[in-house]
């Protein structure tokens, strides 16, 4: 299953499958959760403040229970200051 992913304002180490603009399509097995995808990307715990699946926010505590399905789109934000 291929999940389109966008990392916004991510300045960590390069992530396999994600280009320098933060866009990529990640191939994951059926049944993968959002938490599993973040682990696969190796950005879990990297100070992430917001994740969206199909434009809906998924709280950090709910990421392990959110099973991804074909067609889902994931956006991952790093915490940003906007003053």
């Amino acid at each position: 299953m291929k999940i389109p992913v966008k990392l916004v304002a991510y300045l960590g180490d390069p992530v396999s499958g994600i280009d320098d603009q933060g866009n990529g399509v990640i191939d994951v097995p059926e049944g993968t959760t959002l938490a599993g995808l973040l682990a696969r990307l190796d950005v879990a715990g990297a100070e992430l403040s917001l994740t969206l699946v199909n434009d809906a926010a998924v709280r950090e505590g709910d990421q392990a229970g959110r099973v991804l399905v074909d067609g889902d789109r994931v956006v991952v934000f790093s915490p940003i200051k906007g003053g």
Binding site: V8, A9, L11, G12, Q21, A46, E47, S49, L50, L52, D55, A56, A57, R59, E60, V75, F77, S78, P79, I80, K81, G82, G83
Partner: protein, 609 residues
């Protein structure tokens, strides 16, 4: 220690500058800058006077850490009764002039009265005098700063001044220092203009002493050790606050076209990526570099340029070089909020706001309100002087911004701010304001904590008075938000706005580390609990000022659009602001009654009776 121990009291009416000792007891209770200046303001004026009356008092205030080696310790505040809001105003700025005033030997400058003719204040170490500013009146910030440095013969002088907007009493005029840093909000520049005070120029050759240098330096080293490697510092340095635009756009909290929408289709033309790649026929890149304030190792400031062939700058050489660039709040307000996706036009509007001293947030919100009046047919080109004020009109944005800066034509009406403008035309519901101050870049329907933060902010709608961001980006559920807003209001009031350091170290430096720096700098003992209690005292003192100024519970509110028009898109699609469900809990947490008035026991506990 941490303090110079001196206050400069200026009477513009009498033309006098007098030194007086710092009230140490008040400094213990209110820490400095925002808190201490509010105490001095309360003791120096009647809060019910009109903001533009000579009876209003204008204070330039530093904090105990301002001018020290603490990271980001270059902050100062301008505290007064706001010309935009009629409420307490405290506008905070970085740059270098705050530290310069402190290093010159002054903790605070308190300005009374109105000069009979334009003057500027010149502070050279322990000497202070009022000088004629007749030759500076009618000139921009960009013109005044180098002129003052030249005539006083010292390029190291730091200047805070008003542009033509402040002179014209544009209600959201600000005070600008070092060309493009601003004490931006609530119309503090209009108050300065009403006093015929064009500028404050300072040169200091002394320094700031601290109580326990060894402990202070250890605390500073500790703070820097966590700030330096922190990813938030890296992001602010490399991306600036500008990066927030992609977040709010995706989240659906980016105010667009006067909050008719919360996602802007032009984001890709205005975001960080757009600012970093060549565009236009000349391949000009908007972003040139970044810039830091005094003692700052973050350097979030942006320096930008405009395509020299862009329509906004043709035959205007003063805008064809590098100057203060796009940060989140100005790119939201001058871009998405007015529906403009032309990065050069947005940058131009920002340049003009800096050049003539206008708050970019309130200017964008006021132009957006004018655009909605125009779209709805309430005003036409007859009213605007021929300017097309359709949402998305880059030409309209450029033209009206120049007119507001000069106080000319329809610009004089937009310069009244969104509230007064829309009231004049009988459509006050088009003003996206709280306490008369335009919203910042977060729609309260998509961020419930921000809804409460805007409504209860003592200085009017503001994104910097509380910190509900993490909660709001995670969930729209209300549980816990009132306490998050209350607690963060108190913490921010003291540990950033009153200490003299920048809020942008928040992610990397915690309250205990900041307490350590204060403890080393000051004679008395400071810890996190004392910072929080001091913040609560400051918040309640500001509230008391507002009550005496005539504000009531009805001012702790939001425009009807926030309650009546559900969001059309984004993560909070279908939501409205649920302020009424949070406000009673917030008042209770604060120890206030149902009308939002502090109870007697609350005031007693805080030493405010």
């Amino acid at each position: 220690m941490g303090w110079t121990g001196k206050i400069l009291r200026v009477d513009l009416t009498a033309g006098t500058c007098v030194s007086e000792p710092l009230n140490r007891e008040w400094a213990e209770q209110y820490m400095g800058q925002r808190g201490l200046a509010t105490k001095y303001l309360m003791e120096s004026m009647d809060p019910s006077v009109d903001a533009l009356d000579p009876g209003n008092v204008l204070i330039f205030a530093t904090g105990p850490l301002t001018g020290t080696m603490a990271p980001t310790a270059g902050r100062y505040a301008v505290v007064t009764k706001g010309a935009l809001t009629g409420a307490i105003a405290c506008s905070n700025s970085g740059g270098k002039v705050g530290a310069e005033i402190k290093i010159a030997g002054w903790d605070m400058v308190i300005i009374h009265g109105r000069a009979p003719k334009p003057v500027y204040l010149w502070i050279a170490d322990d000497k202070a005098e009022l000088r004629d500013a007749g030759h500076l009146w009618g000139r921009s910030v960009w013109d005044v700063e180098p002129t003052i440095k030249s005539e006083l013969g010292d390029p190291a002088i730091k200047v805070a001044s008003i542009g033509r907007a402040g002179e014209q009493l544009v209600r959201y005029a600000c005070v600008v220092n070092e060309l493009h840093r601003a004490a931006g909000r609530s119309g503090v520049g209009a108050v300065m203009g009403s006093k015929n005070l064009k500028a404050v120029a300072a040169r200091g050759t002394g320094g700031v002493t601290v109580h326990d240098p060894k402990a202070f330096m250890a605390a500073v080293a500790n703070a820097k050790s966590t700030l330096q490697p922190h990813p938030s510092r890296q992001r602010l340095m490399k991306l600036g606050t500008h990066a927030m635009m992609d977040v709010t756009n995706a989240h659906g909290s980016l105010p667009t076209r006067n909050d008719r929408d919360v996602q802007f289709e032009g984001t890709d033309k205005l975001n960080v990526a757009a600012s970093q790649k060549p565009h236009g026929p000349n391949g000009v890149t908007n972003l040139i570099t970044n810039k830091a304030c005094f003692a700052c190792t973050i350097a979030c400031g942006r320096i930008a340029q405009i395509d020299p062939e862009h329509f906004s700058v043709v035959n205007k050489p003063q805008y064809q070089g590098a100057s203060g660039g796009l940060e989140y709040e100005n790119v939201f307000a001058l871009g998405a909020m007015v529906g403009v996706d032309d990065i050069d036009a947005v940058t131009f509007a920002n340049f003009v706001c800096n050049e003539d001293g206008m708050d970019t947030i309130s200017h964008g919100g006021s132009v957006a309100a004018a655009m909605e009046l125009y779209e709805e047919g309430v005003i036409t080109k007859k009213d605007t002087g021929g300017i097309d004020l359709s949402f998305g009109s880059a030409e309209g944005l450029v033209a009206i911004t120049e007119l507001v800066a000069k106080g000319e034509g329809f610009g004089a009406e937009v310069g009244m701010g969104a509230k007064r403008l829309t009231e004049k035309y009988g459509r006050p519901e088009f003003a996206m304001v709280s306490k008369g101050q335009e919203f910042a870049g977060y729609d309260p329907r998509a961020m419930q904590g921000m809804a409460l933060a805007y409504a209860t902010s003592n200085r009017g709608a503001c994104h910097l008075r509380a910190s509900p961001f993490a909660s709001d980006f995670q969930t729209a559920e209300l549980e816990g938000k009132a306490e998050i807003v209350r607690a963060s209001q108190d913490e921010r009031a003291a540990m950033f706005d009153s200490a003299g350091i920048c809020a942008f170290i928040a992610a990397a430096v915690n309250i205990d580390q900041i307490a350590g720096m204060l403890d080393g700098a000051l004679e008395s003992d400071w810890d996190a609990d004392r910072i929080r209690l001091t913040g609560e005292r400051i918040w309640n003192l500001e509230k008391l000022f507002n009550l005496k100024a005539g504000l009531t519970r009805k001012d702790d509110s939001l425009p009807p659009r926030m309650f009546n028009e559900p969001l059309k898109s984004g993560t909070a699609k279908g939501h409205v602001a649920r302020l009424d469900e949070m406000l009673p809990e917030y008042y209770e947490l604060r120890g206030w009654d149902e009308e939002g008035v502090p109870r007697g026991q609350t005031l007693t506990r805080l030493g405010l009776q």
